[in-house]
Symmetry: C2
Subunit: 233 residues, 2 copies
């Protein structure tokens, strides 16, 4: 055991260095959505690494919804900073749900929390009622379970949007998107969409009336009806 001659070995992978450098540059230069990053080849030369490593870093940033790459030439080409947490969150949740690393119950509880919060905030602030009403009226034409879920998602996301908090909105939308498959199954199993529609109407009425507690309660009952097996507690 000769520890005496120990010297710091390379522990971070090259692409992680690149990530750190890019993140540092974003922070120091105050880059925001819309700004362009240097081209891959240029960045590779600047940082003294291969283009492969730069590309792997780009893939990470892209998967986290921070950059978007466009081919070709011109002002819009190259790696452009974006702010799309939704897509990243959706992928993340979908993959972890698929691997059974998360259970449906946990996702639905999170939805429950967000919708209650958003509905009572919307009721207190008296905001977003027109968007909600629009989403509600759009549901009448839905014939298949898929169509119904599509409009249902729009309505529930409109509740979250009414909160004005982009992070919570993004989480809500990702939760819905990642569990779309299960939502369709739930609607098909339930058969009856009339009660679900009625639940939406009650939520909207409570928000319009500025009744925060009533809105939260309506959300709760609506979800309990849609997923009865998960609300045994």
């Amino acid at each position: 055991m000769d520890d005496g001659g120990w010297r710091p070995v390379k522990r971070t992978r090259t692409f992680e260095d690149v990530l750190a450098q890019i993140e540092r540059r974003i922070a120091e230069d105050g880059l925001t959505a819309g700004d362009r990053l240097p081209a891959e080849r240029q960045l590779a030369e600047q940082l003294g690494v291969s283009r492969s490593s730069v590309r792997e870093a780009m893939r990470v940033l892209e998967s986290l919804g921070v950059v978007s790459s466009q081919v070709g030439r011109g002002p819009d080409a190259g790696a452009v900073l974006t702010s799309r947490p939704e897509t990243a969150l959706t992928d993340l949740l979908r993959l972890h749900l698929g691997m059974a690393g998360l259970e449906l119950r946990e996702v639905i509880d999170a939805r429950h929390m967000i919708e209650q919060w958003a509905a009572s905030h919307a009721a207190s602030a008296g905001a977003g009622t027109s968007a909600l009403a629009a989403a509600l009226s759009g549901m009448d034409g839905a014939r298949t379970a898929e169509e119904f879920v599509e409009h249902d998602t729009a309505f529930h996301c409109a509740i979250a949007d009414a909160s004005g908090n982009r992070l919570i909105s993004a989480i809500m939308r990702s939760l819905r998107d990642s569990m779309r498959r299960y939502a369709v199954e739930a609607v098909e199993r339930l058969g009856d969409t009339a009660t679900l529609r009625a639940g939406h109407v009650r939520i909207l009425r409570a928000i319009e009336a500025g009744d925060a507690d009533g809105a939260a309660r309506a959300v709760s009952e609506h979800l309990a009806h849609a997923y009865p097996s998960l609300f045994d507690h």
Copy 2:
């Protein structure tokens, strides 16, 4: 405008195909955390693509907390499925906060929502009080703002953990980690940690007493005291 001769061009990038194939394999074979993926070279040959494309797909999966790569040889080497949504969420939030794609206010509101929810659930279920008490007692030794924030984070995450929902726990931990910098600033600006400690005690007491509404109120007041400028509404 000659649209007549349109033919299906390649729209999806190769590494996205690889991602889809891997996701399909996870779903069909029922792979879960701990299972191994084929080696990069092998996967490349199976799918008829280059190793670079497989590697870019791996980087994405790794950044989303779905796989973890180990070098070397043996049963634990290679790409192993994992379930680490926290790390991915933390990176995602930190990057978006850094680019000003999200505002601190939104992150703190989300924290507020989660902690209220978790505290009232913990109070109703009477769960997690011992972990909370342990986290609370650990705070007494904190001298610097950094140390205080460290223990503060542990306490607040313990509240989320008490909910038993891994997704909400992961979101909470990521929110805290990504705003650690701002939390330290807030504590330094505030100076007084005694009131913050007292707030923790009130939260714990309410949870121990099974007082869900009281716990939610205590959380609310605690956060309002810590970030007064963000609670003007």
